[in-house]
Subunit: 194 residues, 2 copies
């Protein structure tokens, strides 16, 4: 019986945590090698180049994210609760340090020096996350639960920026609670006031 997580998945897991910690240029094959007890060359067997490794990694991340967002949309009652569930997911990730930053947000900051294939995937993630937020906001507005100052797509961009900025502040200050302190009021203010 095979191990539940294959070697290539283990490689992606540790690479992901290394990217979240230090970005594209912040990790090496040697780091992965040391972390999972396999030789450098064996990693190249699974992922011939670094660009390809990160590309597969971001692809997996995007699929997981999209699946997670979709299931939130289907499984959680109201749009307001969907937003709250989304940010509380991140809050717990930051608190327990399991994934204290969005992989794509991290990579976006290095956009200018990323391999083009990775850069376009990062753009794609930002686009689909903004799209998800927009659809939640629109849904909430149509049901009279939200009262937006701006068009849903603009409010979605504002919310996404707040979330990413809040991750950054939480990291800068080393205070996980700062994340929710910044993000919660931004969601609260969307709520219809009467």
């Amino acid at each position: 019986m095979k191990s539940i997580t294959s070697t290539s998945e283990k490689i992606l897991d540790i690479a992901q945590s290394l990217i979240v910690a230090g970005g594209y240029n912040g990790f090496s094959y040697a780091d992965i090698s040391a972390a999972i007890g396999i030789r450098k060359a064996s990693i190249h067997h699974h992922f011939p180049t670094k660009a390809e490794l990160v590309s597969v990694l971001v692809d997996r991340y995007r699929q997981q994210a999209e699946a997670g967002l979709k299931s939130l949309r289907e499984g959680v009652s109201s749009p307001a609760e969907q937003l709250r569930a989304y940010v509380s997911y991140w809050h717990s990730c930051i608190r327990d340090a399991s994934l204290p930053f969005c992989v794509c947000a991290m990579l976006a900051s290095e956009m200018q020096m990323l391999p083009e294939e990775v850069a376009s995937q990062v753009r794609g993630h930002f686009h689909s996350l903004a799209g998800w937020l927009r659809s939640v906001l629109q849904d909430g507005t149509e049901n009279g639960l939200f009262q937006l100052d701006k068009r849903p797509e603009e409010e979605a961009q504002m919310l996404m920026a707040s979330i990413h900025g809040a991750m950054l502040s939480a990291r800068a200050f080393g205070d996980p609670e700062l994340f929710i302190a910044i993000v919660a009021p931004q969601i609260a203010r969307l709520q219809a006031r009467d």
Copy 2:
């Protein structure tokens, strides 16, 4: 007559633009060497170690920022205009690509692998920027120009996060106008509504 910018300042200038592009691990002494036409060893003469170079660089950045913010506070009429001037400064930096990202925001994303001296300076910058925003918001509130939902320090953190997140989105999408589209409404909503 000496060149108006000394070699060490030229080193800091190019290092800063390289950090803004790719972070702490995204540049090397060789990159600086190639950019300003000086040998690697000569850079070590000015800045013995990379950690020291970046430390001096962030120190200079913080001084410039603090001076700029202080002069905005003194030279610009109303708190609302002070905020607008601040974000429009960034907007033009992003538009003309002269400094398309805050050095400290960039470094904050790599917080976990930064030399401790640099990390504490980055924390310091976040602290003083939040402090500046707080004082502007408080000033505006006391003069009846702003109407805040939360305490000034919380609103300041929210605003700072929006600004950093907006920088990230502008970079991810390659669209400088997105920065102001995200940030302007966040400032507008602070305005007293009656």
